[in-house]
Symmetry: C2
Subunit: 424 residues, 2 copies
C-alpha cells in the first residue's frame, strides 16, 4: 500500500484499525525479545557432541606436545590449519585465541594505541579517527568510544560502503587510522561487500601509512542456504596492491559452536602476526588450548566445519523466512513507508521505516511486550540521524515467537507511520 498518497480520513480509519490490534496485543501480555544476535538452544545443542568425543583418556596433543601444559602462544596448529583454509590464508597468517574475537579486536586497537603498528607512532594522543560504516556493529563503535577515537559515519550501500566517500576521506586525512568492516552478511544489513568494494579497499591510497582495515568476518561461513554470497580474499588483494599489512581479519566459532566457549581467530600478514605475537608475549603464555583441541577433535577438517554450518542454516532459515513472509504479506515489496533486507546469511534483518519513526515503533513494540534493539544502537554514538533503522535478530526465538513478533512489529510500524503522516 502507498500510504503517502492517502487522505487524512483514510489514514485515520486505518489507524483506528491498527490501534484495535495494538490493544489486543497489549492485553496478551507477551514477553518477546528480538534484541540480540544470539544462537538459540537448538543451535548450541548442535555442538554438544564435542563432549562425547573427549574423556579422561583423551590425549590433548600428540607424541611431542602436551597441549594441557604451557606454550603455543599462537594456539593449536591443527585447529589453525582448519580455519586458515576456511579464511583463505596461510597457516603462518593465523593465530587462535580464547573465545572472544571482540577481545582480539579490542586488544589490536589497544596495542596500536599504546605502541603503534609495525614501528609507527603510538595512536594515543594523536586525535585519531576511524571510519564507521553505518549502520554497523555497536561493539565496534564502543571500542572507538572507549579509546576516544573519533568516529566518521559512512553510509552502507548495496555494494558494502560508499567507497567514493571512503577513498576521499582516507586520502586526505592522516588522522584516519582505521575502518571497521563486517564484509559478509553485515550487521545489521546482511550485505556482502562487492568485488569492486573489496578491491578498492585493498588498493586505495591512504594518507596514514599505518592505516588498518578491521575486517570482522563474524559471519564468513554463516549462510542461510546453499546460495552463499562470495567475498573476495582481501589479504591477497592487499598483497597484490602493495599494501600487505593493511588488513586485520577476525573470526570466531561463537556462532559455529558455542557463544560462550568457542575459539576466536586473528589472521593477517606474517609481519602483523609476528608483531601481535611479540606483544601478546608480555600479556599471556598461551590461550586455552584444551578448548581449541576439543574443537579440532570435533571438526577434524574444514569440510567438517562447513557440514556443521548447514545444520545451523536449517534451524535459522525458517525463522528468517517466517519474518520475511509476514512482512511481505503486510507491506508488499514496494511500500513507501518501510523497506527491509532479505539477507542470504548472518544474524540480522534490517528494517528501515519512514524517517523519524524508528524510536516510536520500538516504544510501541515495548508496550506489547516485544523488546527490540534500541533505536540508533547500530550507529556511532547510538545516533541514527534519520531515526529509521530497526535491527531484527530472529535467531534466538521460536518460530511461533518470531511470527507473533513480526505481526506486532507490522502493527506498530503502521501506527507510527500513520501518526507521522497525519502530523505532516
Amino acid at each position: 500500500m502507498q500510504y503517502k498518497q492517502l487522505q487524512n480520513n483514510e489514514l485515520s480509519a486505518l489507524l483506528a484499525g491498527e490501534m484495535k490490534k495494538f490493544n489486543e496485543f497489549k492485553e496478551k501480555g507477551f514477553k518477546l525479545d528480538l534484541t540480540r544476535g544470539k544462537p538459540c538452544k537448538e543451535q548450541l545443542d548442535l555442538s554438544m557432541g564435542m563432549f562425547d568425543i573427549v574423556n579422561s583418556k583423551t590425549v590433548f596433543g600428540d607424541d611431542k606436545n602436551d597441549y594441557r601444559n604451557y606454550g603455543f602462544i599462537k594456539g593449536v596448529p591443527e585447529l589453525n590449519r582448519i580455519f586458515a583454509k576456511l579464511l583463505g590464508v596461510d597457516e603462518e597468517e593465523i593465530i587462535s585465541a580464547n573465545s572472544s574475537s571482540l577481545c582480539m579486536m579490542y586488544d589490536a586497537v589497544q596495542r596500536a594505541m599504546q605502541f603503534g603498528v609495525l614501528g609507527s607512532k603510538p595512536w594515543n594522543g594523536q586525535g585519531i579517527k576511524f571510519i564507521c560504516p553505518s549502520p554497523g556493529y555497536d561493539r565496534h563503535f564502543r571500542i572507538c568510544e572507549t579509546f576516544g577515537i573519533e568516529m566518521i559515519a559512512v553510509p552502507m550501500t548495496d555494494n558494502g560502503i560508499d567507497m567514493d566517500l571512503v577513498e576521499e576521506l582516507v586520502s586526505k586525512d592522516d588522522k584516519i587510522k582505521g575502518i571497521w568492516c563486517v564484509p559478509k552478511y553485515s550487521n545489521p544489513d546482511g550485505i556482502t561487500y562487492s568485488d569492486e568494494t573489496v578491491k578498492r579497499l585493498a588498493k586505495m591510497k591512504t594518507a596514514a601509512s599505518d592505516f588498518r582495515i578491521f575486517w570482522d568476518q563474524a559471519y564468513f561461513i554463516h549462510s542461510l542456504s546453499g546460495d552463499d554470497d562470495k567475498l573476495l580474499n582481501i589479504l591477497d588483494l592487499c598483497n597484490e596492491a602493495g599494501n600487505p599489512n593493511r588488513v586485520y581479519i577476525f573470526a570466531s566459532t561463537s556462532k559455529i559452536t558455542f557463544a560462550s566457549g568457542g575459539v576466536a581467530f586473528f589472521a593477517s600478514s606474517e609481519n602483523n602476526i609476528a608483531e601481535a605475537v611479540k606483544r601478546m608475549g608480555a600479556q599471556t603464555i598461551n590461550p586455552n588450548k584444551m578448548s581449541q583441541w576439543m574443537h579440532y577433535e570435533f571438526f577434524k577438517t574444514a569440510e567438517g566445519v562447513l557440514e556443521h554450518m548447514k545444520k545451523h542454516a536449517a534451524i535459522l532459515k525458517p525463522k528468517f523466512d517466517a519474518f520475511l513472509t509476514i512482512f511481505k504479506n503486510a507491506f508488499q515489496t514496494d511500500s513507501d513507508v518501510v523497506r527491509w533486507t532479505r539477507p542470504k546469511g548472518g544474524y540480522f534483518i534490517s528494517v528501515y521505516v519512514l524517517e523519524g519513526c524508528a524510536a516510536k515503533v520500538i516504544d510501541l513494540c515495548k508496550e506489547c511486550g516485544l523488546s527490540l534493539t534500541p533505536a540508533g544502537a547500530t550507529y556511532p554514538m547510538g545516533i541514527d540521524d534519520s531515526d529509521s533503522n530497526i535491527r531484527i535478530a530472529p535467531s534466538c526465538c521460536s518460530l511461533e515467537e518470531i511470527s507473533i513478533s513480526a505481526e506486532i512489529l507490522v502493527c506498530c510500524i503502521r501506527i507510527a507511520v500513520l501518526e507521522k503522516l497525519m502530523e505532516d
Copy 2:
C-alpha cells in the same frame, strides 16, 4: 665445608676431583631441564576426570541460565563462590576469566595506563615506576618493561620484602604507582610474607593516591605438605586501614587443573571490580564460561579444591625432597659458598652461590646437558647485580632426573666456586 678458609693447594686438589666428575657427566650426554615452573604430566592427569563428568547431555548452567550462550561477564557465579571462599573475599569481590592470570595482570596495568584507576589520571606519559621485589617473577617485570614502567628493585627478606625501604620509597615518590608481590611461596624464593609485612603494605602511606598492590596469589593453596604457611588477608587489612581499593588480587587454576586450560581470577574491592567490569565491557562479552562450569562440576566446593591440592603435593614433595637431600649432603647447612631455600610450597627452590658465580655455574651445567633458568632472569631487566641467584624448578622432571640434576649442579657449583676462590 668452609671453602673460604682453604689454601690454594687444597682448592686445587678439590677442583681436580670435581673436574673429573664434571667430565664424566659431560660424557653421559644428559638432556635435563629445570628451567620452567610447569606442572608435570602426572599432575595434569589429576584433573582429567573433568572430562568424564561432562558429555553431550550435560546442562551448562541451570533452569534460568544457559552458560553456553552470551552473557555473565563476571564469569560463572557458582565457580566464583568457590574461589571467593578460598581467597577469603566476598562473592561480589571476585570475577573469573579465561585461563591466564598473567593476562588479567597485564590488562589491569594496561587499563590503568590508558584510563587511570577510579578517576585518576591515565598512567601513560607520567613516567611512572613500580617496586619490584627481587628476585621475583620475570613476567611481572616484562609487563613493566613493555609499558616503559621504571622498575625499582627492592630486596626480598625472610619476611617478604624490605618494608623499611618500600615505605620510604612510596611515601616520597608519587610516580611510584604499584608493587608486584607473590606473597605466598614467592617465585623463586618460596617465601611467605609475614603478618607484619602484609599489615605494613596495607597501611603504609603512599604519595600516589592511585597506588596499587598487584598481589599475585599464584601459589595460594600450593603447599607441599600439610604444614601450610599462613598469609594474612590483605583485602581485609586494606579495608581496615582505610585503603579499601589498594589491592588487586590475582590467581588461577593453572597449577590446580591445567596450565593451558584453567580459569583465572581477579579479586578486589567492589569499586575496583565494578571499574574493571565496566572497562572489560568494551573488550569482551564474556569469558569462556563452559570451561568455568566444567571446573565447577569437577570441584563442587572449596574443600574439593583443597583435597585435590593434596594430590599435587604428593607428586611434588618427593621431587623437592630429593633435591634438598642431595644439597644438604653435599654442602651441609652452614656452607660459606652456597645457601638455598627450603620452601613449604610453590614451584621453586632458590640457590644462592658465591657472588659472581651464578652465570658460570649455569654455563657449566649446560655443558653437562642440564638447562637452568638464565642467570639474572628473576631480576628486573634480567640483571642480578651479585650474579648469585639460580632458580630451580623441580616440578616437571622425574625423581631420577631431579637427582641427577642436583648432582650435576653440586659439581658445577663447586667448580665455579673453587675457580673463583683461586682467582681471588
